[in-house]
Symmetry: none
Subunit: 131 residues, 2 copies
DNA sequence: ACACTTGTGTTAATTTAGTAATACAGGTCA
DNA sequence: TGACCTGTATTACTAAATTAACACAAGTGT
């Protein structure tokens, strides 16, 4: 768990933790079922108040990334089931609908939106570190 | 200049002003070179502090949407339309980045996202009323 | 039972974003 | 010139977000 925070980066500490753990999970460095550090442990490691880590974990649980077992710890959730995928696609579909509605409202063609998507994806692939 | 603000909409007043003026410019209701209301005038019309309007105008100038002539007033920038489009694309780009990041976290491939975009677009074309 | 660890909850301090009050500087134009 | 416009700058107030301090409840394992 190599997590590094920038205390005065403009983005809240708890958000930085959320983002980095999300990335660790999506990149496979944190496997499903794996236990992640106890709130106090990570807090001490990052030199941050435990409540801040607790909030990050809560957000992650809300997002379905992790599961908490009250007195046992926090674990990466098994988000691999096919049924879950349908749910995920539905969420993405809603966002896409909103995006398309906005684009239409702005007078931007859907073709351009598709181009932007591919373009942005390429950009994300090449540059893995920014800001 | 029909601008309407919702004081407690969650989004800041100055941001609402920025958004609506951006839209007015991009839709052509505010032509390039046209003068827009003096800060105090618009402030009184919207029942808002002049500083709030001033901030909105400042953001618009920073975005290249308008130009300010110190003692003469504020005018829609000459390249208002093209710049406005760039602005719109930037807004969409931000949303797309967020969408792609989310898709990655969910383990959904970008190809599938592109497919969903096209699919949803087709759905929007055929059925113009639902939700 | 008991020491220890886990996450939870309540409350307060702190920081930041947003808005407001007010005075200022520099032009226009009768 | 001088009243009257413009946008600008400084300062302070308010509300919300963020973080911190600290006590709590509930399992684990010896």
């Amino acid at each position: 768990m190599q997590i590094h925070i920038s205390p005065h980066d403009g983005v809240p500490i708890y958000q930085q933790i959320v983002n980095q753990i999300k990335y660790l999970v999506s990149s496979g460095r944190l496997a499903a079922g794996e236990e992640l550090p106890a709130i106090r442990v990570l807090a001490e490691k990052l030199i941050v108040n435990p409540n801040t880590v607790a909030r990050a974990y809560r957000e992650l649980e809300l997002a379905g990334i992790v599961e908490k077992r009250r007195t046992a710890g926090t674990y990466v959730s098994d988000q691999g089931s096919p049924l879950a995928r349908r749910e995920r696609v539905k969420i993405l579909t809603d966002r896409i609908d909103a995006l398309l509605a906005e684009a239409q409202h702005m007078g931007v063609a859907v073709d351009d939106v598709v181009k932007l998507v591919q373009q942005r994806h390429a950009a994300m692939q090449s540059t893995r570190n920014e800001k």
